[in-house]
Symmetry: C2
Subunit: 430 residues, 2 copies
């Protein structure tokens, strides 16, 4: 057999493996869709208990991934994302208990009423069905995603990173055993092979077998998914977030908010990447802001006005800076002449994730929140608050930056669809 | 220049034409997003008035399409779909007034509350932005789509059928003039070129320029869109709908419902294509049902039990019959041993559009509505009721059979996204 023919045969076998998992997931999802809340919550607690009971197995598997990662020369940051510990296992187990405590989205009546002809209409939430998730190093996502999926009555196909494959395999084995013991179908949680990138392709093209795929990852993954997917997908992630300091801002609050939004966790998507300062307050505020950012270790990439006002601590920005999601201790900075100019800058360069205004003016706050088109718009608050946990959703499955189906943090309701239920009395339509 | 190079150049020019329209649409959508309801409703009434005032122009343009259609040998049914008349123009104008009377979805607070830290959260409806619609012959869709899009604060790119191009051009010219006169941006309603199929491709790949595309049409269009689109899309349309007559059915109601669901308008997606009869009532009911369907001109494609009970009026069904959306006076028919078997049959062959049960048993009704996975599930009512107008949504933009974003009839709320608005007081995250 030629190398090409052999590769084709392996690819066909991999596709069949993904499709077989999806068919098992469909059967599990069909059963899970009608399981009452109490049984699902008991299973979530059983999953949490099992993680604690079998933490040693999970940590041993994680150690294998870490050793392989060190051999492969993974960065310290990546190794940290990959690492589990007794504490981290306890945290993800607690996450499952939080999800158990959240209301069941399934069955919620979204709209309803009685028509003129007497038909009774209810639009109720139902599970999406079979949900695929493609994600990177962190093995805690495996548990979060499984917990949210099960609570919302879905079966989940997990396609984690190959660097976390031993950890994910151990976690999924524990979760599946707990599901079975609790009387729910183990196939509601399945791990897809991660050794070959092609398993992603087979997942996102399994139309009819998979209802929706959530890609969580960098721009490369998202682009590949958008190009190749035939299954509906929800785009997550890129955050080129702005903080606009208005002419009427409380400047102490503005300083705190910019510093928090930039430095709290620079590597996450809700971190601020650009600060815009109204010209009316620039002369006094820019030097102070630049000094504080410099003290916090942040490199400021400023426009002409920022360079002029901020002095040597400001690096001259290039056009690329306005587009960049640094995910590091860097921030782009510009002076704008008006709220209009700030809104226009954000419309041109923002990624539709989170945008903030700092102002004491009610008119400015209303104008900014009405005109800025993003998943979240903050008034006098840090961009860092855009987060499922902060918004009271329990865990989250990522932050959607698309407009269809889900926008912003995705929790339980975002993992559901709806169904119209109509009760009549022999009604026919004229 | 070679023929290929010339074709490439034309394709590039067409793409640029579609993209330029999308950029104008974006500017219009940005303006329209913050227009208050009163101004939008006045514009909708102005559009309706203009259609009546300039009906002669529209009808003259429609006559050109009809003449071309007759020359091209279009079927009588297609010519009827294409035809406008004074009455039909008045009906679409009335549709605009109905939409004006509906609540504005924009600004509706979907969820909200105050977090423990004092942050005030509201999730509000916002327009989707730039919406593309690909549709077939009927020119009334042009007006319905424009009206719904404008009311929900969107700009719309209309890609109608080339067979209706003169009618659509006249309608869009009238609507744009009315929008301008009412002080709203005319570019909120634009017609894309329809002479070349490639304009569909350019629309569904205009990622970043177009927020969502709704393909309304046959399986061929839907498949092409699913394969090639990089813009998010909402699938509409295929309806392989079932009526299940339960053991506890009121058989008079069952007869009325099956006849209504099959014969009221056989060509629409909510028409019934299969009837399933519980074995316990088959002996008495099947002959009666077959007789009534035969009298109504319907050909029954039955399984073995139907052939046995229904006699010469039943044609033996093949495997393909269970999958077929006839859209004609044909119906597939089978006897099933239980509600379970009916649910399994629907899960295997249904298209997730509308499924109905006829029963007097509360347990059967609850079981069927819980377990059948479809956009709409009817109890003792005809499948024909799945319709935006019947559901009180005013006009509709098609019936979604996908689970993401919109499921069932799509009205104004389905043409919106949401935005989280968060008010703080200098809040930073720890």
């Amino acid at each position: 057999m030629t190398g090409v023919a052999q590769a084709d045969q392996l690819d066909t076998a991999l596709r069949e493996e993904v499709h077989a998992a999806a068919r098992r997931a469909r059967a599990a999802a069909t059963a899970l869709a009608v399981v009452p809340r109490g049984d699902k919550d008991r299973a979530l607690h059983a999953m949490a208990d099992a993680l604690l009971d079998r933490a040693d197995e999970v940590l041993a598997a994680n150690e294998r991934d870490l050793a392989a990662g060190r051999d492969a020369g993974l960065t310290k940051a990546l190794l940290d994302r990959l690492a589990l510990s007794t504490e981290r296992v306890a945290t993800v187990a607690d996450g499952l208990r939080v999800v158990a405590g959240l209301p069941d989205p399934v069955g919620e009546v979204v709209r309803g009423g009685v028509l003129a002809n007497g038909l009774e209409l209810r639009q109720v939430r139902v599970p999406l069905g079979v949900v695929g998730i493609v994600y990177e190093a962190r093995p805690n996502v495996t548990v979060d995603a499984a917990g949210l999926a099960v609570k919302a009555g879905n079966a989940v196909l997990l396609r984690g990173s190959s660097s976390a494959r031993h950890s994910n395999r151990a976690l999924v084995e524990v979760l599946r055993a707990a599901l079975s013991a609790a009387g729910l179908p183990a196939d509601a949680v399945q791990l897809l092979p991660s050794e070959d990138r092609a398993s992603v392709r087979h997942l996102i093209t399994a139309r009819g077998l998979v209802d929706v795929v959530l890609p969580r990852g960098g721009a490369g993954l998202i682009d590949a998914v958008v190009r190749e997917a035939t299954v509906p997908t929800i785009e997550t992630g890129v955050g080129n977030c702005h903080v606009y300091v208005d002419a009427d801002a409380d400047l102490d609050a503005a300083l705190r908010i910019v510093l928090n939004a930039k430095t709290r966790r620079p590597s996450v998507c809700n971190a601020a990447e650009t600060v815009l300062v109204h010209a009316a307050v620039a002369a006094g505020f820019v030097p102070r802001l630049v000094g504080a950012l410099h003290d916090a270790g942040v490199t400021v990439h400023g426009d002409g006005a920022f360079v002029e006002l901020g002095g040597d601590d400001v690096v001259a920005a290039t056009g690329a800076d306005w587009e960049t999601e640094y995910l590091s201790l860097d921030i782009a900075a510009a002076v704008v002449d008006s709220l209009d100019a700030a809104v226009a800058h954000i419309a041109e360069h923002g990624s539709g994730h989170t945008e903030a205004i700092v102002t004491g003016s009610l008119a400015a706050a209303r104008e900014f929140t009405a005109r800025v088109d993003a998943a979240a718009v903050m008034v006098n608050a840090s961009t860092a608050f855009t987060d499922g946990g902060e918004f009271g959703m329990g865990a989250e499955l990522g932050i959607s930056t698309q407009k269809l189906h889900a926008r912003g943090p995705m929790g339980l309701p975002e993992l559901t669809s709806t169904k119209w239920i109509v009760w009549g009395d022999g009604h026919t339509r004229s």
